[in-house]
Structure formats: C-alpha cells, structure tokens
Symmetry: C2
Subunit: 508 residues, 2 copies
C-alpha cells in the first residue's frame, strides 16, 4: 500500500523543516498550479481552477443578492487616467506592465521587434478604479442614477519583484467591486457590507477564521480614505490578508469627475467604494489547512468531494467492481451538498498502487476504496482527509450514501475548528517591549524556525512607532479591531499612552 505503512510523509520537506519549500511542494503535489515561463505568472491547472470557479460562484451569488451587477471594463488603462489620483499612481507606478507598441515587425537581423509606437503608453490594469471611474462619470448624472453597484471578474497585473505562486504573482485573477453613492453613510455601509460577505466566504466556505478590522494609514490601499481588511493566521503564524474593502470618500470621484445633480439641483461629487479578493485566497486555503501529506480542501468549495477507487486485482472482478462503482457514483451525484451537487471522481487507472496517496495529496475530502470483498459485504472502505491517512473504516454502502452530507459537514467544521484553535493558541496579549521583541524573534537565527503569531499590543497611533517596529522586526499592524475594548496602556514602541490594542504580526 505504498507509503501507507511507512512513517514518512507524502510531502518533503515537512512544514516544520522548511515551511516555504513545503508550500511549493504542496502546490506541486496537489496539481493546483505551476510556475510559467513568463516571469512571475502562473498556470492555474484544472484542480486549482475548479477551486477558483467555486469561490467565484459563491461570491457572485452573494454579490447579486445585494443588488450588485457584473460588467467588464478594458484591460488597458491610459497613463493619464492613472495619473489623475496622486496617491493611487504613486502606489502602482513601480510595478506596472506597460504596453508601448501595437505590432511586431522584422528587424535588421531578421528577428521580430516591437513596432508601431502608441501615442500614449497603456498600463495593463493593476486595479480598475480609474478606468471604471471614467465610465461612472458618464453613467451618473442625477441622484436617481445612484447607487451604481458594479463588479467585474478579471485578470490584473502587478509586476512584483519577488513572486510566490498564488500569494504574490505578476498576473492574478480577482473580482473588483466598484460602487458610487449619493450619500456618504451609504457608501460606508456598502464598504462594510462587502467585508461581511468576504468574512462569510472565508469562515463558512474556506473554513479560514479571520479577524475583521481597519488598516492603519500606512497600510491603506493607495488613494483610499479607509481600508478594511480580513486577516487570517497561516500555519507559520504569519498573517495573510483574505479580502479588503475600501471607502474611497470623494477622492476618486474628484479624480474621475463622478458628479451628480442632487434632489436640490446642486452638482455634487459621489462617494465611492471598491473591494476585492483574488486567487490569493487559494494560498490562504493551502496555508491554513494543508499538512505534511499535502492539500486539505474544505468541502464547501472543494474542487471535488469524493473519489471512488475501484480495486481490481483479477480481470474477472472488473465488471462487478465497475458496476458497483458507477452505481455508487450515480447515487452520490444525485444529492446536493448545500447549493452544489456532490462532485465525484472515479479513478480507474489500472495497477496504480499510489492512487490513494495521489488523492490525499490533492486534498479531496473523502476517499472510497471499492474491492470485491467490500462489494461482497455491500460496504465501502472510506478515508476522510481530516483524519490520518491510515484511519479508514468500512461503512455499509447505503449508510455511506445517507450520511455523506453529514460527513462533509463534519469535515468542514473540524477544519474550521482546528484553524481557530491554532490561531487562538498563537495569539498573545503582550504588554512589554521586551516580550514583544522576543515573540517576533526566531530563537535560531541561522535557520529561522516558525515563531511569533498575532500580538495584541498597545499602539499610540503614531506612524513613527509603526515604522520602527517594521524596520526592527518586519512586523506590521495587520488591523485595528473595530470592537476592541477601550483600555489604557502604553505604546509597545514608544511607551506613550495608548487607548487600545491593535493586531501586530509578520505578514505575507
């Protein structure tokens, strides 16, 4: 039974040995994606793309229920559009792909060279506030046209210097919502409402517990008035942002001239918001749930729910085993797991001893082995991905069919609970600067082991203090919790008076 009888793990190295390399190996072993020959760009393979499709479908329904409509805007942004909002262009100029020519022609040496210089360079969208703002300025003229609630699913490009698959890639897929409102409070409500939707996605679907809060000024989206964020703890105890929602005030409305005539016939600027999540969420799923045997997929968005593995040792058994397998598949597929039909894979590759391990590495929630002996007993041999690879049990076929939904729900719940326990175990209230520095300093500098976590510590609100901690420890304020208790204390950096704790962590 392959690795089944050995103590070794399916992924080498393990998390504790080399976390960064473990991550790459999980991505490879699970067949989610691969690096492409184009610098920093990835190829999302079918197993990974199915995950993204499921995330998309869940979010899309939630968006549409709140009145949001999908649309599509150009990939290219004229340079002058980006320049309209000073902080915004400052934030993106350093990492944008620029289109300068519109054809290739034969050069002197016979190879093709760029030709047909564009009058104005075009930037491949890193985000679309400015190009969508341009449309909004034409779509809005009266208060009756508001609110505008628009979302687009698309690719964006940010020319990152150091890339890591799913977490930081030059091109990634995302959705970006953009809304315009007549009333400030309505725009702020929308900003928070979308953050709540992301929280629901993270916790109820991805099984990733998140903290919800606001970013400090230095961590805001370029040009935003307020940026709200979800922060999750990965298994190396670093934070990963799993959704952001921005209240843009009237800044982008001014930049793009989104004006409307109010009921009092005055011409005023609209209030806008934007919000997005990306394929980075797949990185969050991996780093929250995967273990030393590979990926572990939350059933609510798993690429597939169940794999059936017929075991045929003698040709004579083939018909019986395959008939049993197909009839089981049919009955499973006829059921719903929440809003989606149960998705079933049949792995009938011949004479492949490592089948079970392939599916463990791919993180499928439930594995079912079907051999002549199981069939004789009208039972199936079931392994769950939230349990050890050898912890398999025989279950009567009919009972398995009846309880599959409950089993998937249990797996989903176990995954969330484990992640929550992990986060709570690694979240500390810290009051002294010495403890704070010790918390974020690896004990062995040569080979930095996993350390730190979320520190709830006091901050005076001063950017210099934030900057000092970032320089000293590479630790940043992940978020300011909205419901943090008022509590007097001393700033962890300068010792000045502070009225509240914020969440500090190392981050992706």
């Amino acid at each position: 039974m392959g690795k089944d009888n050995k103590a070794e793990t399916a992924i080498t190295p393990t998390r504790s040995l080399d976390y960064a390399e473990w991550y790459q190996q999980v991505v490879r072993a699970s067949d989610l994606a691969e690096n492409s020959p184009v610098r920093g760009c990835m190829v999302i393979k079918p197993w990974g793309y199915a995950l993204w499709e499921n995330i998309r479908d869940v979010l899309d329904d939630m968006f549409k229920e709140t009145g949001v409509k999908n649309a599509y805007f150009p990939l290219f942004i004229p340079k002058r559009f980006l320049e309209r909002e000073a902080e915004h262009v400052e934030g993106f100029a350093k990492e944008c792909a620029v289109v300068t020519h519109h054809r290739l022609e034969e050069g002197p040496d016979g190879s093709l060279i760029p030709a047909g210089v564009l009058d104005e360079p075009l930037v491949v969208r890193p985000t679309s506030e400015t190009i969508i703002g341009d449309s909004f300025s034409r779509w809005v003229s009266s208060y009756r046209d508001l609110p505008l609630l628009i979302n687009q699913w698309c690719n964006v490009v940010r020319w990152e210097m150091r890339t890591r698959i799913f977490l930081r890639t030059s091109e990634f897929l995302w959705q970006e919502g953009h809304t315009a409102h007549a009333i400030r409070a309505e725009a702020m409500d929308r900003t928070l409402q979308m953050l709540d939707i992301y929280e629901k996605l993270a916790q109820d679907y991805l099984a990733v517990p998140v903290l919800k809060g606001e970013k400090s000024a230095s961590e805001r989206f370029p040009g935003a008035v307020n940026t709200f964020t979800l922060e999750a703890m990965m298994q190396d105890r670093k934070a990963l942002q799993t959704g952001t929602s921005h209240f843009l005030g009237q800044k982008f409305a001014r930049a793009s001239e989104i004006k409307y005539q109010s009921a009092e016939e005055k011409e005023v600027y609209a209030w806008t918001t934007s919000w997005g999540v990306s394929t980075r969420l797949i990185g969050a799923i991996i780093m929250t749930h995967a273990d030393d045997n590979g990926l572990v997929l939350p059933p609510m968005i798993a690429s597939s729910h169940v794999v059936l593995m017929p075991i045929i040792r003698k040709p004579a058994d083939k018909t019986t085993v395959m008939d049993f397998t197909h009839s089981l598949a049919r009955e499973l597929r006829g059921q719903y797991y929440h809003d989606r039909k149960i998705a079933v894979e049949i792995d009938d590759r011949e004479a492949h001893g490592g089948k079970g391990w392939d599916w463990i590495k791919k993180g499928i929630p439930v594995r079912v082995e079907i051999g002549p002996r199981d069939i004789a007993q009208a039972s199936v041999f079931v392994g769950r991905r939230d349990r050890g690879p050898r912890e398999k049990e025989s279950i009567p076929r009919d009972q398995f069919i009846k309880t599959i939904v409950r089993m998937l729900d249990e797996i989903q719940k176990n995954m969330f609970d484990r992640a929550l326990v992990f986060r709570e175990k690694n979240t500390k209230q810290i009051d002294s600067q010495e403890d704070f520095y010790a918390f974020f300093t690896p004990k062995n500098q040569e080979k930095p082991e996993i350390h730190g976590g979320f520190a709830l510590a006091h901050w005076c609100g001063n950017e210099t203090c934030e900057e000092k901690i970032k320089t000293d420890l590479s630790v940043t304020i992940r978020c300011i919790l909205p419901d943090a208790e008022e509590e007097t204390g001393r700033c962890i950096a300068c010792g000045d008076k502070s009225t509240r704790r914020v969440v500090f962590a190392k981050a992706y």
Copy 2:
C-alpha cells in the same frame, strides 16, 4: 404613451436607411455596451455582460459534459514562443499589443514615462496555442496522459485598425479550447464535436441559424491544417462567423515539443486542436434579431425574461399595485425556463412614460403592465418582443403564470424561424459570372443599399480565383459545406471544371 401612438421607430436611423449606424444605435439604446476611451476597447455594461454570462454557462456545461476541464494560462506570451510556428506568428504579428517595460517613473518634464525595460518583449495573448502548448509539453509524457482536454475563459487582444463594438474590438472576451491526442482521428473527431456544440449554442440558444463547413486554405486560422466554421447571415445579408474549430495536425505539437511515449515506447508528436467563440456572438444576436425598435433577445440566453411595470397613477393605489407586482414576481421566479430560473425585473421608476419603450429597446422577451384596472380583473397586460409594440393583450394572472414557459418557447421558436426564412430567401444558387457579380453589386453605388446574400456557386479550388473575387467584389468563400452534393459545374471565376458549390458572401 410616448412613441406608442406614433408610426416612428424607436431606433433612428432604421436598418434600411443606414445599417451600420442602426447597429451602433441599437447597442446604445439597449444599454449592452459602450466604446471606451481606450482605442478599440469596449465597456460591456451589465445588460450585455449578463448575456455573456448566460452564453458562458451554457457552453461551459456542454464542454464539461464531454470531459473538458477549465484552466488558466498567462496573459503574456514571450515573443520567442509566438515565433515557434511560422504561419502563426505571421498571422498575428501585425496586430499585437507589446509590453516592453515594467514600471513608470518620473521623466525629465515631471510626467511619468515607461521604465524598466524587459529583457524580452511580451505579447498580450491574441490566442494561446503557444503558451498552452508550452504547458502541454510538460504535462504529456506517456500516451496515458492523453487526451488532454482543456479550456480557458479569458480576454485576448488583437490590435485591430478598424473596430466595431462586439464585432471587432481590440480586446474581447472568449473561450479557447485546446486539446492534445495520441491519435489523429480522435483529434479530428474532437474538432468536429466542438463545432457541433457551437452549432447547438447558435441554433438552440441564440436562435441563429448557421451553416456548418470548412474554410478554404486562405481563410484558415494561422497555422491550422483545417479550420471548420459556422456562418450565419446577418440582416444586411453579410456573413458572420459564429464559431471556429481548428484541427492543428502536429504543427503546433512540433512547435511546442508536445511529445509522448507511445504504447510501443516510441516518442511521437501529439495531435492538437483548438476552438473558440467570443463576445462577437453578441454582435450576431443583435444583427440577426434586432429590429427598428431595438434589441430582441432570445429567451434561452436573455439577460432577463420578464419585466413587470407597475402603473401607479394615484398614491392610494401604490400598496395594492406593488403587492400584486411582488407576488407575481415571486411566482414567476419560482419557475424554471429550461435550466435557468425565470429572471424577472421590476421597473418601479415613478412617472416615467417611456418605461415600456425602454424595455422594448433592451429586447426583453416579455413586458407586463400592472395597473389598478388589471388587478381588479385579476389579469395582467402583456406585450411580447416578437410582436409589434402595440400588440398587447390582457391575460388572467394565473393563466399567465401557467403559460409563461410556453410563451418564452414560442418566442424562441419564432425568432429562429424568422431568421431561417430570411436566410433562405437570401441564399441563391448562381451559375453565371454575370449573375454572380450582379448579386454582389449594390444598385446605387453612392449609397450602397443592403444587397447580396449567400451565393452557392461553383469554385474550381484555385486560390487565384478566390483572390480575384475578393479583389473585385470583397466577397469571400465563407465555407465549403461537408455534405454538398457532388455536382459538376464551372468555376464562377475562371470557368474551369468544378465538382462542388461553395458558399460565397460578403462578411464581417
């Protein structure tokens, strides 16, 4: 009742007056899309994007049923990849957007200029054979890895000089399927199978009748061995391609080194295919069905099925009318129209006389007016988009609910039948060169009226003849019908012997 009592049309100019301008005005009046400030790129507005989403969902299900899986590949293609297949690069070099820099920085005059020159220019994908081929070369090593059946939904860029919204835009959305096979015949079967799926989409969903056939050599996809196509007749009697599927032989496999070890342990090249449809299909819907009052949407993929327009003339009626409207909406939405729930809009804008006309222009299949008098009779006042704007009838509410699905089916069928009659009326067997030239020559050269159609004429198979007709008349061979009868005749261009007729037409 606004334009309702006048003889004039909602769209100016009409089709017969100025077809090209009529098209632009239909797009504008229906709120499908708009031109963007970025040359040749469009903004797809919610009403148009919903149409694309419906097309996507229908196709995606059909693809997946045949074993195709979705994935995602990089937007950027290194120049050297494109160069690997000579005909392919020749076909796309003249119209590609080239990324040459990866940041913007402040220039001498303070404005931002492109900086950070890339080592190798990157082309924004015009199509992805070469970049996907690169992945395939890594994914395939044994015959057991084949077939590979992959599709991606994405944006592509072809820098067109003359653009027309939906029909020819610099950026457009599409799906591109790419498959690799061990056996030549299997690849050819797949090529034709996907064309059949496109035919089903066109005829059963878009209500667009199509001819199915093969392209002549000069009209093939750059690098393909065979290109198969669907051709539809627009209302100006020109042809529009509504799907193509390419058998690529081993040409792209050689270019990308897609090799596998056969069962006999020989290393051989795979056989590949590619196939795609794009947002151009929305242009086909408009030009097949729209009339002088605007868009007409086929119910099977309509952005929405029914609009309810409450009519409230006295404030006292409001509650009754709105309650009636919402309960009707609820009952309609509870039903399925084929695979999709019935989509219902409620237009409760106040005191807006042109409401009905707005929805006629948007092409919604069914309009329902609900006033106090209708409610008193427990009936609704219904207009169908496949009938005249004033041809409305009172229907008992419960009967309307019971028959809505049948009504939508009738509309769908009427639309297809009308389009088919139109095509047949404008398809002619032509045998003399004189008749052929007369068929494709407008009677008034000053203001070319709508003329021509599909000519079934003999062609000897010689490219010179094809070229001559193209030069003289801007007429091309749209396709060679696979099931054309063997029939001796004389080539319409040179008079030489020919064994079959092909379809000639002017085209988009």
